[in-house]
Amino acid sequence: MFDFSIVTNWIHEWLLSLMPEGWAIFVECVAVGIGIILLYALLAIILIFMERKVCAAFQCRLGPTRVGPWGTIQVICDVLKMLTKEIFTPKGVDKKLYNLAPYMILLASFLTFACLPVSKGLEVLDFNVGIFFLLAASSIGVVGILLAGWSSNNKFSIIGAMRSGAQIISYELSAGMAILTMVVLAGTMQISEMVSGQASGWLIFTGHIPALIAFVIYLIAGNAECNRGPFDLPEAESELTAGYHTEYSGMGFGFFYLAEYLNLFIVAAIAATVFLGGWMPLHIPGLDGFNTVMDYIPGFVWYFGKAFFVVFLMMWMRWSFPRLRIDQILALEWKYLVPISMVNLLLMAVIVTLGWHF
């Protein structure tokens, strides 16, 4: 497996030879920042295109075909259009908060995005409580949504924001609990260690029953956290026109739109990291030949492959199910998912203590 830390170390050495250490670190930070933003934008475009094609496939349609080969550059048109669209602040909004809200959401998804271990040696933020940081950072997003709804001075927006506040905060609980279950199994909160610990088998296999339960719970909760169908109440189109971002136009709306898809990716990527071994290739104990072949496939291919697989699962969910009602959403969380994930956590602890996992 190629270790990207060789490359990063080499760049670091090279920069050190040119300038003092403080400057070198500064330059690296800027470079990494730009890299993340570029990757972020690229992923958002890919995801939006994927969503449009996948939903078209489910709906016996073709999806975008006219712009570029197979409509591949359709989303670039959309971005261009949104960039040049008028941005206005409606009368009666709380200007400061109204303009701040999209950035809050972006901030949350950037911070979370930076934690993702794309390949071996390519972790941007990696420290001993990585998972903890990730969970904390991702919950900033709800503040942005609440701000957007509150500051818009629109009744639909505020209902959307309130719904999303109730929903996201509730579902964070079971998502966190599902990840905690896996932390118990992995024995570490550092993301890079968690991944390297899965060399002998992905956690979803080694943790068998409780890991599978946690995976399913995480998928449901993750879907709810990024406000996607069947949990898309905050922006329930047929009820609240566009929910909390009703009053946003141009790029303000564009940020929400991008963040929605990136959050989808982040949720999928976390699932890929925690349950499906991150960039770790598929290893089957005993089949050494097979394992070596698998090792030749670069880590980021594995990583994106897994993440996009989970994204596909979530899109499948979105395009198949009708929307839930707010009381049903909360009942599902508090009456079913939370108790189940608590029991599941306990079960995992027992299994780990007794050594019943693989």
Partner: protein, 198 residues
């Protein structure tokens, strides 16, 4: 300097479109002062982006709305053009397809919707009622064509227009967007005068 801009639409030659004269006149009008090369290229890029990403507002008052739904559905699939993202909030929509009769009670509401949209915004009058009042022209409560209250870009006649006509109208609008200028802001003031028959 004579500026000739011929907007290209995939798979349909320029000559096969109807009413090219209006379009050419529009190009002439917009480029009277000549064009800067750099700005012109940027304009083209932005127009290309805009013309391929016209998100309609979900707005329908009557029968034509059902045909619009059919256009979005599997057989006609407006998603091929990238227009399937129908926005319910006027702030995020680019084009309002006035599909259906506009009555006196609805007219101020429609006008308000149009004013809520962010620039650049376009209006397509769909169906006989929106074009001229259609079969209800004699009625006491019907607006005689939506161009009385909004600047219309493209007219799609029919009662209701067939889905193919919808697509053709959307393509006509694309052509119109493609000759617009972003820098200089001429489009806004000229808007009242430019009309085109689909």
């Amino acid at each position: 300097m004579e500026v000739t801009k011929k907007p290209k639409i995939k798979s349909i030659p320029y000559e096969e479109f109807k009413d090219n004269e209006t379009l050419e006149q529009l190009v002439k009008q917009l480029n009277e002062g000549g064009t800067n090369v750099v700005v012109g290229v940027l304009d083209d890029l932005i127009d290309w982006g805009r013309s391929n990403s016209l998100w309609p507002l979900t707005f329908a008052t009557s029968c034509c709305g059902i045909e619009f739904m059919a256009v979005c559905a599997a057989r006609y699939d407006i998603a091929r053009f990238g227009f399937e993202i129908t926005r319910n909030s006027p702030r995020q929509a680019d084009v309002i397809l006035v599909s259906g009769t506009i009555t006196h009670k609805m007219a101020p509401v429609l006008r308000r919707l149009y004013e809520q949209m962010a620039d650049p915004k376009y209006v397509i009058a769909v169906g006989g009622c929106a074009v001229s009042g259609g079969p209800f022209r004699k009625s006491y409560h019907v607006v005689q064509g939506v161009d009385e209250i909004l600047p219309v870009d493209v007219y799609i006649p029919g009662c209701p227009p067939r889905p193919e006509a919808f697509l053709y109208g959307m393509m006509q609008l694309q052509r119109k967007v493609k000759v617009e200028k972003f820098f200089g802001g001429v489009n806004k003031t000229k808007k009242e005068g430019k009309e085109e028959q689909a």
